[in-house]
Each structure stands twice: as C-alpha cells, then as structure tokens.
C-alpha cells in the first residue's frame, strides 16, 4: 500500500485567487466602496468633524445650503426648522443609522446563523426550528417595530430589536440551505468517522464553510435594514429627540418640503447613497464568491 502525503497533494493544487483579486474590476464597486468607507469614517469621527453642536438650536432656521440662493457659507448644508446645522446633524444621523444597521445585522444575523446551522446539523431540531422561522417570516419588520415601540416605547433599542428579529428567518434559511449541502460532503462524514466532536465539526468545518454565502447575504441585507430603519424612524418609532437619525430627519423636513426642501432631501439622499453602495458591494461580493459566475 502506497502512503499518500496529504500536505504534498494539497500543495500540488492550484492556489485559489484571493477575494480581492476575485472582486470585479468594475470601477463602480471601488467608487461605492470608497464612498461607503468615507461615510463610515465620517460617522465614526462625527464629533470631530461636525462644525456645530447638532442639538444647538440658536441659529436661524430654514437656511438653504451654502451653494444655493440665500445660503450662508458657515452652514454648508443649511439649517433645519429648529435652526440646527444640517451638516452636523447629517454626520450624527449617519452614525445612528449605521450603528442601528450594524447592530441589527450582528444580532439578527448571528442568531440566524446559529439557528440555521443547528437545524442542519441536529436533524431532530430541523422541523421545530424551521417552523418557528416560518412563523417569523410571516411578520413584517414594520409590524415588529410598532409592537416593540408600543411595549418599550419608541427609540433606537426598539428599532434594533425589531430589525434583528426581522433579519433572523432569512439568515436562518440561507444558512441552513448552505449547511445542508456541506453536511452531505464526504469530509463531514469522515470527521464523524474519526470521532471528532460536534462542536469541533461545527466550528471548524460547517460554520466556516457557510460563512461565505451568509456574509454576502448579510451585506445585501444591510441595505434593506438601513432602509427599514429609516422607515421606522420616519414613522416616529426610531431615535428619540434630539438625537439625529437620517429617517427621522427626512420626516422632520416634510413640513417644509415646499419652501425648504433641503431639510428632507439631504438626509433622504444620504440614505439612498448608503443603501446603493451596500447593494453594489453585496452584488460584487456575491459575484466574486460564486464559482459558477466566476468561471463564466
């Protein structure tokens, strides 16, 4: 019998190209990535970048952006109906919106991954978990938001909880479908045969192999979460005054839509840009990680 040197065999295989090299060379990807990075950095460093206190109401209200007629150079994006600097509120608003989205994705996505993997690995749990997920799928996120706002009062916490719960079923389904395929692979059988523990198999093989598709899905989902978060805030269920949030800022601009449209348009445009950038990035990641698309 000939002994096979596994390490040598692996070295003989052609190296997989890195993720960065697999990302499309489409300039839109890099522009959207750079834009998103700039927005994230601006949000992180909002306290340093904001020219004014975002909650200070002393300035004249309804001043248009400085590049429009009637604008003032000291207020680059103008002021809102309470006389607060729009640029400062935009920076802080983006911060709240992004934090809400990230928290919802982390909590909701994390729970969904755990449920999806558990239902695929422990087959006895599959039916009860997936039926619960089916029930959750039947509730729209906005309904969750309303219910939580009614119980614990409107605020970022209610929005994060609602969005997290709303994200669970989709993520659980995607994870489970990927995990079920991986469970059919021979290396999983081999792992069981040589006596590897459930924990080891799940963490070292199952979870790691599921992460790619799930990560792509979460990236795409992030844009939707931001959008729903903005909708909930627009409906008055999000951040509490005076904290800025992009959806809430757009809502506050409705009263002045006919004569000071910048108050609603600027935060709405920011939401549009964030969602567009995350969707473009998500699409590109999916293309890069999907072997069928890559080969074609």
């Amino acid at each position: 019998m000939t002994a096979i040197d596994i390490d040598q065999s692996l070295e003989a295989l052609p190296a997989r190209p890195g993720l960065w090299r697999r990302l499309p060379r489409d300039s839109a990807v890099w522009i959207s990535g750079a834009t998103l990075l700039a927005i994230v950095l601006a949000a992180i460093f909002a306290p340093l970048l904001a020219p004014y206190d975002p909650y200070e109401t002393g300035q004249p209200p309804f001043i248009p952006p400085s590049f429009m007629d009637g604008g003032m150079p000291q207020f680059l994006l103008g002021t809102d109906n309470q006389g607060r600097d729009m640029l400062s509120r935009l920076l802080f608003g983006a911060r709240t919106t992004l934090i809400t989205g990230v928290l919802a994705i982390v909590f909701g996505g994390g729970t969904g991954v755990v449920l999806g993997i558990a239902s695929a690995y422990f087959t006895r749990l599959s039916t009860p978990i997936m039926r619960v997920v089916d029930v959750m799928l039947s509730f729209p996120a906005i309904l969750f938001g309303l219910a939580f706002a009614a119980v614990i009062g409107p605020g970022t916490t209610a929005v994060v909880i609602a969005l997290s719960i709303a994200a669970v079923p989709d993520v659980a389904r995607i994870t489970r479908s990927t995990a079920v395929i991986i469970m059919g692979q021979e290396y999983m059988e081999a792992g069981r045969a040589i006596g590897l523990s459930d924990g080891y198999l799940i963490t070292r093989y199952l979870a790691l192999n599921c992460l790619g598709p799930v990560f792509v899905f979460l990236t795409l989902r992030f844009g939707q979460v931001i959008l729903i978060s903005a909708i909930l805030s627009f409906l008055g269920l999000g951040a509490r005054p005076p904290y800025a949030e992009l959806g809430m800022m757009a809502s506050q601009g409705r009263d002045a839509l006919f004569f000071a449209p910048h108050i609603a348009v600027i935060p709405s445009f920011a939401i549009f840009i964030i969602v567009l950038c995350t969707n473009l990035l998500g699409d590109s990641l999916r293309d890069a990680l999907d072997p069928r698309l890559r080969n074609s």
């Binding site: 209200p61 309470q82 009062g153 005054p241 005076p242 506050q252 839509l257 004569f259």
Partner: protein, 528 residues
C-alpha cells in the same frame, strides 16, 4: 415652479394613497387627521368625536361664534332660579329624530341621566354639575335641579356630551351604540362609519331647528358629508388643493400661505380659538418640586421662536394657561406673565444652587438636572419637544424626551413616572380649564401636576357655584393668579382655528366650540 403647481404634483403622487371619493355636487368631503374610538357622546371626549356629534345631534342650548353668548337650541327658552339651583328649559315642539320619532322631554331627561350615571363611566360626568335630579314637567318642559349652583352649566350644555339621544336607540344597539349607529336630532343622520377610514352622514330633511347663529336654520344645504381620515398633513393639504376634499381645519401651518395664494381655495379663521398647547410639571417629583427651577424653565422657553419657526407665525405664542380672550381671564395677570428671559433663567438657577458642570449641564447635590418629558408621538409633539429641549440646553438643563403612541400615551401619563408632560386641550372658559386641571380631586389625571391646594379647591367651588358673573370671574381670576405664580405649566402656544375650503363653496364662518370649526355645518353650501 410655484407652490400651487408643486402642490398639484404632490397630490398626483399621493393620490394613490387615498380612496377616491366622488364628491358629487351636493356631497362634501372633509379630511381630518384622526378618527374617534366611538361616537357615544357620553364616552367619547375626543375632538374627532365631537365634530361629528355636533352634526348628528343637538343640545338644549347652543353657543354663539363669540364663544361667550348662549343661544337657544332644542330649548327655545329657559329660566334660572335666583339661587342658581334650578333651570327650567322649554323645548321646541317641532323636533324629531332622524328615524322620524318626535323628541320630547323624556328624551332630554334620559340623555342627561345616562350622562351622569356612574355605570356609563363618562369621563366628563363632572361637566353636568352636581345634579339633584332632572325631571320632565310635561312633554316639552324639563327641570334641571342642582344640589349646588353651577355657573358654567349652560356652557357645558352646549358641548357634544350634552347631545340629546334616543333611549330606544341606545337600548336597541346596546354596546354598538355610537359604533353602528346613533339616532340624533341633528342636521345630518348617521349612514355608515368605517373606523379609521370614513364617516358618512346624509342630510336630515326634516331639520329646521338649527341654532339662531345661522342664517339657515335647516335643513342643511348639502346632501351628504363624508369625514375622511387622512393622517398625513401634506396629503390633506394636497387633497384640498386638488378638490378631493372641500373643507378641512387640519391643515399644516406651512400650507396656510399656499391656500391663501391659490384662487381655488380660501382660508377663514376665528380669533376666539381656545385650544392651548402646554407642558405641565409633576410638582411633587424631585427637583421640579422647586418653584425656582420651574420658573427658570418657563423663562428659558422661547415661545416666540416656536411660533415663528415651527408654525410660520400662524399661531399665537402662549404665556398664559388659557387664551387671554377667554371668558373670565384675569386681565391683571397680563403684565406679570412669565416671558422668555434666558439670562434671567440662568441667574435664577445659579441662585437656586443649580451649578453648571464641565459638560455644560447643571447639577445640584451631585444630581444632574434631567427632567423626563412624556408626550405623544407624531410630528407636532416631536417638534415641540425638540424645541423646548433645545431651549433648556441653553440654560444647562438636559430634558429627556419620551414620546408614546396615543394608544398608550394616556396610560403612561396617568402614572407618576415622569417630571413633565406635554398636552393640548380645548376649553370654553377659565372655569372650564381650571376645574379640569387644578382640582385636588382630579389627581393623578387630568390633574397630572399633582397640584393639591385647599385654597384652589375653595376658590374653584366658589367660582363654580357663583350665581353672579362677577363673583365667578373674581374667584377664577384668583385661581389663575395662584397657578401662574406657582409656574405649574410651560404654556407653548394657542392654536388658531383656521379652516381651508374650496372656492366652490359659499363663504364660511369658523366656529371654535371644542375645537370643531364646522359646528352644525348649516352654512356649508356650494356657490350657485
């Protein structure tokens, strides 16, 4: 692009959100913000209920446009005993309900007894006064007996809570009374109510007993009135601009200019508008129990800026707890009302020992001054809360804002959890407002301030039981002075009554009874 064009484009875009309403030549659609939970006059206190009930039913007496003069209604005349304990109402003999049944004294007696019956659990039972009995002396004479004089009785009897109802109708409908129907004597009759969508009523053809404040005393001059719920204010404006609605008083302040400029729409107002927005302090909570802190907070709020920036100068900044035009307002207080004075507020806080910390916020005894405000979700209170919050930051007070959906806000505001609450309210006089909010017996709600003062109670009793107008005004004037001096509220603004209507309609006159601009609707008609 001018405002009118922009409005038209917005209307087209938003039209899909609205159910099409065919506004026939004799049908008018009134758009409004919220619906009522029911239309039972004794159980519904919302303005949304009253504006419909005034059209479905009638009251013994009516109120003139000046909000002070009592006029005949179902009673063509009345007498009051010298001791103020008995009122005798002589009813009209030609009144009938929508189903054709004649209205008699028995219906009036039943209506008032149901109103004050503890089993009805009417939240506005006190408005009927301390009733000894209500008896029908004959088919068209009612005697209203009191155990104590009630100087405001006639004003209270003009309100929708005093609408005369049909006993048989109440018995027939049971729990569905005011939900599936109400047989009234008003200028319009109940057709259909789709909750949170629309209320449809048709003309009461036999009606001819309208209040004498109208040139047309009946029947109504339009065949049908449809009250349509349109929660979003710009959509309501667009509905009016595009003719989907012919009348509304629920117009965003930003839209007044647009309505005035548009040749197809008109705007009418009433100076006698008694609806005030305010924030009240729960005065037995830590820190806000200090009168100096409360006064400083009131001084820090810039009502003028609120009126100008948030409401485009269309509302009247409030420094008084009731309109200075209202019955029994104490004119001596005009000169002493607390006005905006940020420097004065800072000085007062310094003197009271509220020191500013490194973060700019004040503390006392190591505790940061951060009063919690409870109010309603929705653009109005969000804007107001933010404006007051911003003003208070300037004097180092970090007000925490918690806004709740109206379905749970009332319950939250019945608790002792908050330091400040935000609310608005209608009233017809000083006595109406003061008896509601400042009586010890009304703690914890509607006296959410927990203001318990024996002198106030005695003065309110004196005002309520006064037989002479001057005695009543003096007693209520003293209470007004007492509560203003104690800085129990932050008055914000007095809401004007403004009605936008189509130029296809004949000129209207705005009423303001309980904030209901159309009142009986007898003057609504299309221009020929």
């Amino acid at each position: 692009m001018n405002n009118e064009n922009r409005c038209a484009i917005a209307a087209l875009a938003l039209a899909g959100l609205m159910t099409a309403t065919a506004a026939g030549a004799q049908s008018i659609t009134v758009v409004r913000e919220v619906d009522s939970d029911r239309y039972d006059p004794h159980r519904s206190t919302a303005r949304g209920a009253s504006e419909v009930l005034f059209m479905l039913g009638d009251t013994l007496v009516s109120l003139d446009y000046d909000m002070k003069t009592i006029k005949p209604g179902l009673a063509e005349s009345w007498t009051q005993s010298p001791d103020g304990l008995s009122y005798v109402f002589n009813l009209r003999k030609d009144v009938q309900f929508c189903n054709g049944k004649k209205m008699t004294a028995a219906d009036v007696v039943y209506s008032i007894k149901r109103w004050i019956d503890p089993e009805t659990k009417s939240p506005v039972r006190w408005r009927a006064g301390k009733v000894a009995d209500v008896v029908a002396k004959d088919d068209y004479t009612v005697e209203y007996k009191l155990t104590a004089p009630f100087s405001e009785l006639l004003y209270q009897l003009t309100q929708s809570f005093a609408v005369v109802i049909d006993k048989e109708d109440v018995a027939k409908l049971g729990a569905d009374f005011g939900v599936k129907g109400l047989n009234g004597t008003g200028p319009f009759c109940w057709v259909e109510w789709k909750p949170r969508d629309e209320f449809r009523m048709k003309r009461h053809d036999a009606y001819k007993w309208g209040p004498p404040i109208y040139d047309n005393r009946g029947p109504a001059q339009v065949q049908e009135v449809v009250w349509k719920i349109v929660p979003e204010e710009n959509t309501r404006l667009a509905a009016l601009m595009t003719g989907q609605s012919q009348i509304t008083q629920y117009i965003p302040y930003s839209g007044f200019r647009t309505i005035r400029a548009n040749p197809n729409t008109k705007l009418i107002g009433s100076r006698e508008a008694f609806w005030t927005y305010f924030m009240g302090f729960k005065i037995d909570k830590a820190e806000v129990n200090d009168e100096r802190l409360r006064k400083a907070i009131v001084m820090a709020v810039d009502q003028g800026a609120i009126a100008k920036n948030l409401y485009f100068g269309e509302v009247e900044p409030a420094y008084s707890y009731i309109s200075q035009q209202a019955l029994d307002w104490n004119k001596k207080l005009d000169a002493t009302l607390i006005k905006t004075d940020v420097a004065g507020a800072n000085k007062l806080l310094d003197e009271a020992g509220f020191a500013r910390g490194a973060d700019g916020f004040r503390t006392r005894n190591g505790k940061k001054i951060e009063p919690v405000l409870y109010s309603f979700t929705g653009s109005t209170w969000q804007k107001l809360a933010e404006a007051v919050q911003g003003d208070l930051r300037k004097v180092g007070i970090d007000m925490r804002v918690q806004l709740f959906d109206p379905t749970i806000a009332w319950g939250k505001m019945a608790t002792q959890e908050f330091d400040v609450f935000g609310m608005s309210y209608p009233y017809i006089s000083a006595g109406d407002a003061l008896n509601l909010y400042f009586r010890s017996a009304n703690v914890p709600t509607p006296n959410r301030m927990n203001w318990k003062d024996a002198k106030t109670d005695a003065l309110l009793d004196k005002g309520m039981t006064a037989v002479k107008d001057a005695d009543r005004a003096e007693a209520y004037g003293e209470v007004l002075e007492q509560v203003h001096n104690a800085a129990l509220w932050i008055p914000l603004y007095h809401e004007p009554m403004k009605i936008g209507y189509s130029a296809k309609l004949a000129p209207l006159k705005a009423h303001n009874i309980y904030g209901c601009g159309l009142y009986k609707g007898l003057d609504i008609k299309f221009v020929k």
